[in-house]
């Protein structure tokens, strides 16, 4: 049996997690305050994922840039592919929270959406 200690990144509480792994399968997660910590630990030891946030240029709006994120979490190894795909992306105002900015970014099956209104 193997144990791994992790810090949950689900929210700023940063709960210290202990994951017990038996023959490659997670047998228990302890230390989490909420269900998300359990989910995070199971994913982190098998297929770690992250939400990517960035900003892209917006033209004709009240601000120069609009903040964006991946709508769901993506495999950790894809972070830089996504950043590359966002290079040079420009959108026209108005942009609303939730608008799709790039669909299926870097073939992850996940969309990039706006996280701010720029009118």
């Amino acid at each position: 049996m193997e144990t791994r200690e992790l810090i949950c990144i689900g929210c700023p509480m940063g709960c210290p997690l202990k994951v017990e792994i038996n023959n490659g399968e997670v047998s228990s997660v302890t230390g989490n305050t909420c269900k998300r910590g359990d989910d995070y630990a199971r994913k982190e030891v098998t297929n770690p994922t992250r939400i990517v946030t960035s900003s892209v240029i917006v033209e004709g709006g009240s601000l120069a840039a609009v903040s964006v994120k991946t709508k769901q979490d993506i495999p950790k190894g894809k972070i830089f592919d996504i950043m590359k795909a966002l290079k040079g992306v420009k959108v026209q105002a108005p942009v609303h929270i939730g608008d799709v900015i790039v669909s299926n970014v870097a073939d992850t099956g996940v969309d990039i959406i706006a996280t701010k209104n720029v009118l």
Binding site: L6, I7, C8, I9, G10, C11, P12, M13, G14, P16, R36, R50, I51, V52, T53, S54, S55, I57, S62, L63, A64, A65, S67, V68, K69, K76, I79, F80, M83, I97, T115, K116, N117
Partner: protein, 425 residues
């Protein structure tokens, strides 16, 4: 001078000001005005484009602008008035708020209650205690955050960061994602001032080294930063000769913590805590000046915006009660019991609590002054210990809490003193 009249004036339109306004309205006050010096509502959240906000409030993980967006929507729904590009200059003790903007010029508002929600600013460059040139390429982490996230401008390509506060950690990741090489994060103290989750997902994820007990001892370059030398420090925070390491870089970011923005509060005569640099408040979040309340980062620096919204909601509710009940608000009662923080606990918010007036339960928040492992958070009513809770790890970067119960406080004979402290196992 033009003088307007409002029941409640809120200074600052960040998450604290927004939540206070919405709560005051829902508690029955119609006449509310929010004053914000920036060109949009939302405060510091507008530049915090990373995710990790609102999990506790909305049960989903939002980015800063999305979290602010939810509260701005509520403000619009409640039809609460606000003025942007408006700087509050002064508040008098009879609650005349003096503000200024382009359209109205200088104007005054007579308020019945005032809520301070001005947030905080970054500690200045004083942290960089070295002689010599100050070439271009030295930024505070918050300034860099604004430039990259809101202006789409990258301040540099090769970066060294001094200080491991959250903004510095978040900018280490942000600049790495934008193609910069972040060479090292140096922290003067033996522990990081930032959240553990940020060390994991901003440094560890990208293999950026964090050097604790290190500081910058030399900066190369006259016009522009060309390199940085860091060295290890001893217990007295003095550089140890022979431990110097040199890094070539074009940018130095300083992330040395935040400090509440209280110039207006001080000149109003609000009593300040030397520990938090924020006002001393009772459990209604009211300052020593009746009818003046404080919440959010202006009161004490928070890491979790959910707590800011919660605290601000309480401030809004109490301000509304003060407006509706006027002098009946029992803030002058003799029964305000002081809460003392000692032995590792640095301060508490609130500073006093009134058992008659308090809700059934009250959360007292505090920070510790050092890293503690397997220690207990203890609460004493006079000399009697009533809470003794084990905590595996506590660190100055993370806010702690204890819950006081009305029942217990009210039943305690001759209660004169509540003490919060950290005890060894």
């Amino acid at each position: 001078m033009l003088r307007q009249v409002y029941d409640i004036v809120i200074v600052g339109g960040g998450p604290a000001g927004l939540a206070a306004a919405v709560s005051a309205k829902r508690n029955g006050v119609e006449s509310i005005l929010v004053l914000e010096r920036d060109k949009e509502l939302g405060g510091i959240l507008n530049q915090c484009i990373h995710n990790g906000f609102g999990l506790h409030t909305f049960k989903e993980e939002l980015t800063g602008p999305e979290y602010a967006g939810r509260f701005i929507e509520q403000l619009e729904e409640e039809k609460i008035a606000y003025k942007l590009n408006t700087m509050v200059m002064d508040i008098s003790d009879d609650k005349v708020v003096t503000a200024m903007n382009r359209e109205d010029g200088m104007f005054e508002i007579q308020a019945k209650a005032v809520i301070l929600a001005m947030g905080c600013r970054e500690r200045s460059r004083g942290a960089l205690n070295i002689p010599g040139y100050r070439p271009a390429g030295i930024y505070s982490a918050g300034t860099a955050q604004r430039l990259v996230n809101m202006e789409g401008y990258m301040p540099g390509r090769e970066v060294v960061i001094l200080g491991s506060g959250d903004i510095g950690l978040i900018m280490a990741r942000r600049m790495t994602l934008e193609g910069a090489k972040v060479k090292v994060v140096a922290e003067l103290l033996p522990y990081s001032g930032g959240l553990k989750r940020n060390i994991v997902q901003c440094l560890d994820d990208f293999g950026i080294p964090l050097k604790l007990s290190h500081t910058v001892v030399d900066i190369d370059g006259k016009e522009r930063v060309e390199g940085i030398t860091i060295a290890q420090v001893d217990e007295n925070r003095r550089p140890i000769p022979g431990t110097e390491e040199h890094y070539t870089c074009d940018t130095l970011l300083l992330s040395c913590g935040l400090i509440p923005e209280n110039e207006i509060s001080s000149s109003l005569g609000v009593e300040m805590s030397p520990v938090t640099s924020g006002p001393l408040v009772n459990e209604c979040l009211e300052t020593n000046i009746e009818g003046v309340f404080a919440c959010g980062n202006v009161l004490h620096v928070h890491d979790l915006v959910d707590f800011v919204s919660e605290e601000a909601g309480a401030a809004g509710k109490h301000a509304a009660e003060y407006v509706k009940n006027g002098a009946k608000h029992p803030s002058s009662d003799a029964k305000d019991i002081p809460i003392t923080a000692t032995q590792g606990a640095r301060y508490t918010v609130p500073k006093t609590i009134n058992p008659d007036r308090m809700d059934e339960k009250h959360i007292v928040r505090f920070r510790v002054g050092d890293v503690y492992k397997n220690c207990y958070v203890s609460v004493y009513l006079n000399d009697q210990r009533v809470i003794h809770r084990k905590r595996p790890v506590m660190a100055p970067g993370e806010m702690e809490e204890v819950v006081l119960k009305k029942e217990e406080l009210a039943a305690f004979p001759d209660l004169t003193q509540i003490t919060v402290k950290i005890e060894e196992a």
